[in-house]
Symmetry: C2
Subunit: 157 residues, 2 copies
Amino acid sequence: MAHATAARQGAQTSPEDHADLEDLVGYNLKRAYVIVDADFRRALGEDGLAPRVFSALSLIVHIPDITQSDLARRLGIERSGLVAITDDLEARGFVIRQPVPGDRRVQALAATKAGKAAYLEALQTVRAHEARLLSDLSPAEAETLVGLLRKIRQIGD
Amino acid sequence: MAHATAARQGAQTSPEDHADLEDLVGYNLKRAYVIVDADFRRALGEDGLAPRVFSALSLIVHIPDITQSDLARRLGIERSGLVAITDDLEARGFVIRQPVPGDRRVQALAATKAGKAAYLEALQTVRAHEARLLSDLSPAEAETLVGLLRKIRQIGD
DNA sequence: GGTTGATTGTTTCTACGGTTAACAATATAG
DNA sequence: CTATATTGTTAACCGTAGAAACAATCAACC
């Protein structure tokens, strides 16, 4: 409808005038993501697992002999990006690449004993980090948030 | 057909077995952010404004003669990071750096007529992108989501 | 059974967003 | 007037990621 002339006003800045940005989901999503991501890294320390490495390890622990391609699909990233992640985990001794009898292209990923232990410890740390960071949200709110985020994620599939 | 060899999809991983990751706010936040960010860029096109540039332009339009330092603070990034953003906007003819009488260190940022027009157009595009992308969420849900994300943002301040 | 097409892991290149540390110019406080 | 702080800026660097290419391997199929 009547969209006023482009360069109109803009003179005085009333508080709710910035509302544009503040009301956008994307903007708030990004700002929140940056904060949570930074705190995650702080929580896991200088040489701790990066978020994406932690995520990969989680899936490897839970899905024995998962393939890198499959893992990439589940994480929503490219196959090529998984090489560095796997290298990282292998260098730490948390994961090994195992040849798969029957298909010599594939290398199944398996968590070592150390990998499983490290995962469980990291998981504790991550849970503590989230509990601390999200202490302003009630459990119900946190659950709601996760549910809504999943709805958005779903679109990407 | 499916040989039941080692590559077989992980010895029946029950769905709730991955729950670790799926229940973490950070993981879901990141996945959702990636999707929204990618769609934002797609919506604004190859040579369109990047998300951060759009955000900066929005604040410049709404807050006349804002300072780069102030803008950085409001966007939650470093001063140094704003130089490239401002360069971008200036190269497009959307913003000019103006000397401020009284303090020769500062250069106030002002949106040009073209900048204001471009912002309004981009805003329409962005709103359409969000409406499309978030069509699975009811308006109430979207509002709830923004509210919860703001609560997280608040922590960072 | 040999050709065609797809898949897997990988490397290399590129791009982007962002931080840190330094710096010169300028302003402010004591 | 000196010491300190602030502003915009540059340069070096890191982390994440995608795209494109490639060799090895597998599957299809005629």
